[in-house]
């Protein structure tokens, strides 16, 4: 789960990381009101989960109320790389002496958090990494030992931060690490981390990704999910507990198990088709879950055909068949379905489907055959 900038800053503030004061707004009136409260100059910032907001015109300084109004009008509703701006964050303008970069990522290979610090903040860190790898100080933290004072000092000295801010930089890294662990984040990134004219250290931006699997332990974070920023179909899938990713094509895909679904998408693509989604019905899906998943797939008007690719382990093929039959009873789909059932209770599943004799549902024996069939159907070659 990705947080918006201001949600990330509020999370930081809970762990003692200094952030500029600000207020969120979803309308121009709210934004102007917020700007008045905060005072001028202030900054109007588009709240979307995508980089490059500044270049796209999504971050503007307002010197007075009139500018606050103009900027919030311009930014609200703006499209930034496919993300519509539904919300803005109005914050006090900062006095920036230096722009640094700090982040903590969950490093799978090392099985440890990786902490990074650079004095070359304010720009794309991938570019910095490419141009001058030594400009980024990095170290792994033993998760059982935790972040030690020496970690902070070492990063600060190795990144070459100004001498007078070695201690405050080390301290803010310790607090970011605390936030990373306490909130169970997968990523915490601050770019820029600024040194103010008064030599204070502030997080001027915040990119935080939380672990969805841990949200049950953090109800206050779970409540942050921002429906306005999600695709309606993805939101629908999410509410139904399905693992769903929207894609560009016209063939709806349902499978059980992430690897099998990814493989199905590959095979369909290789057969010349274009998948409309990734949908993992998950292990042990019952009939209702299948019915519910069909509704999600068909909520995409681009879908011209649907492929069910099931290899049952925990998932039982008879339950999948029952779910599909129920879906047809409820929503009577007009697009063709190709269904391949193997694994647990496959014989029973195939029998149920055959008996139901659903219109335009094509059984296939193999994954490859099923993929070829659904591509044909989507292209209208066969019916």
């Amino acid at each position: 789960m990705d947080l918006l900038e201001y949600q990330g800053k509020q999370l930081f503030a809970r762990h003692g990381v200094a952030v500029p004061s600000g207020l969120p707004a979803t309308t121009v009136a709210e934004a102007v009101d917020a700007a008045d409260k905060i005072g001028y100059p202030c900054v109007v910032k588009a709240q979307v989960q995508v980089g490059g907001r500044g270049k796209a015109g999504g971050i503007k300084v307002a010197q007075d109320r009139q500018e606050a109004q103009l900027h919030s009008q311009a930014i609200l509703g703006m499209d930034i790389k496919g993300h519509t701006v539904h919300e803005i964050w109005v914050e006090a303008a900062s006095d920036i002496a230096s722009e640094y970069y700090a982040s903590i990522v969950f490093d799978r290979s090392a099985k440890a958090p990786l902490v990074m610090l650079s004095t070359q903040g304010g720009m794309d860190i991938e570019e910095v990494a490419e141009r001058d790898p030594n400009a980024i100080a990095k170290l792994h933290v033993d998760p059982l030992l935790g972040f030690q004072e020496f970690h902070g000092r070492r990063l600060a000295f190795e990144a070459g931060v100004d001498e007078d801010v070695v201690r405050p930089i080390a301290a803010i890294l310790a607090r970011l690490y605390e936030a990373f662990v306490a909130e169970e984040a997968m990523l915490v990134e601050v770019n820029p981390l600024i040194i103010t004219g008064d030599r204070d250290v502030w997080a001027l931006d915040a990119k935080v990704t939380l672990d969805d699997n841990a949200l049950y332990r953090h109800p206050e974070n779970a409540a942050l999910r921002n429906p306005g920023n999600e695709d309606p179909q993805e939101q629908m899938a999410h509410e139904r507990g399905l693992t769903f990713v929207k894609l560009d094509g016209d063939i709806g895909i349902l499978g059980n198990g992430a690897g099998l679904v990814m493989s199905t998408i590959d095979v369909v693509s290789q057969a010349g088709g274009s998948p409309a989604n990734f949908l993992d019905a998950g292990g042990g899906s019952k009939a209702e879950a299948i019915t519910s998943a069909v509704e999600v797939i068909l909520a995409n008007p681009n879908v011209k055909a649907v492929l069910f690719n099931i290899f049952g382990g925990i998932t039982r093929c008879d339950e999948v068949a029952k779910g599909l039959i129920e879906a047809f009873a409820q929503i009577n789909p007009i697009v063709p379905f190709v269904v391949r059932l193997d694994g647990t209770n496959d014989v029973e599943g195939r029998r149920l489907l055959a008996e139901a004799n659903l219109p335009n549902v094509h059984a296939q024996d193999t994954m490859l055959g099923a993929a070829q069939k659904v591509v044909e159907l989507a292209q209208g070659v066969a019916s």
Binding site: F106, R108, S109, K111, A112, P113, E126, D142, P143, L144, V181, E184, M186, D211, N213, A214, Y216, R217, T243, V245, L247, G255, N256, G257, A258, G259, L260, V261, M262, S263, I265, D266, V267, S269, Q270, P275, F278, D280, G283, G284, F311, G312, G313, I314, T315, D342, G343, T344, T366, M367, L368
Partner: protein
């Protein structure tokens, strides 16, 4: 021979009194696995169709001599159950549970790495099947038969798919090991490939990877330096869009590294043949074995 589970396995099932736990514990027993105990706190003294239930792993191990644990409890309790199994002296812990918080996995992995004599498979994995000997987990055993192909996979159902294609081509398996798709798997491709390399029954190794992380690239290096047996690989996610998480926490593509293309190239550069579909993968394996 086989790897990890077999006739010496003495299995204790954590969460045995849950619906799924009971179902799969009995399913594993029916296959021939020696299921000696179960653990459910507060239900010590009961039994599940003759399998004694204990309040703690320590009591289960003391009474039943269990050497292998299957973790079948909800994610909220899984990390604790794994740690308990290790503390009680279990040597092999197979964690089926999906959805364990990543920071829990980090703690568990790092703690276990400091303990000797314990191996974790999973979490978020289908378990291990050694056809004809023992099945621990949720792999539908009837689709596989004894043979000389060792399979190791990050994905459960994809494993079944590949195993099934091999079976159609007439080949069986020494063992099928699902290592799971989570950010911090207890065992890596390398760990399992090393076991297959040492297993006399295994003549060919199939590894089934997916986008995200660098486990496949690391395996490629390891194979080049240490493995004499032929290895055939499959990678899922060639057409996955960058920046999207696809189900498995592991299956995220960011930038160039971790893509299916990069992984396939890394493997092929080290002499590992990579199939573009599960079917092609099984065909390559069959070709090599028949040569």
């Amino acid at each position: 021979m086989s790897v990890l589970v077999g006739k010496d396995t003495r299995l204790c099932v954590s969460g045995i009194t849950g619906r799924e736990g009971t179902f799969h514990a009995l399913n594993n027993r029916n296959y021939g696995t020696n299921v000696v105990a179960g653990v459910t706190p507060g239900k010590g003294g009961q039994d599940v169709e003759g399998i004694p239930v204990f309040d703690t792993f320590h009591a289960a191990v003391a009474d039943s001599g269990a050497n292998t644990a299957m973790i079948f409890v909800p994610p909220r309790f899984a990390a604790d159950s794994i740690l308990e199994a290790q503390d009680a002296g279990i040597e092999l812990i197979i964690a089926i549970t999906e959805g364990i918080p990543a920071h829990d996995e980090l703690r568990v992995f790092n703690h276990l790495s400091h303990q000797s004599g314990v191996r974790l498979i999973g979490p978020n994995c289908p378990g291990i099947l050694s056809p004809g000997k023992a099945n621990v987990g949720i792999i539908p055993a009837s689709f596989f038969k004894e043979g000389n192909v060792g399979v190791v996979s990050r994905s459960g159902t994809l494993t079944y798919q590949i195993g099934n294609e091999l079976a159609r081509a007439g080949f069986g398996n020494s063992s099928i090991v699902g290592i799971g798709g989570d950010p911090v798997p207890g065992s890596s491709f390398i760990d399992i490939i090393a076991l297959f390399e040492a297993d006399p029954e295994t003549e060919l190794i199939v590894m089934s990877g997916e986008i995200g992380g660098s486990a496949e690239e690391e395996a490629a290096e390891y194979i080049a330096a240490n493995v004499t047996k032929p290895v055939v690989a499959y990678i899922a996610g060639f057409t996955a869009p960058p920046g999207k998480t696809m189900g498995h926490a592991g299956a995220i593509v960011s930038g160039t590294a971790g893509t299916a293309v990069a992984k396939a190239e890394a493997l092929e550069a080290k002499g590992v043949r990579v199939g573009r579909t599960p079917t092609e993968t099984a065909e390559i394996a069959a070709q090599i074995l028949s040569a």
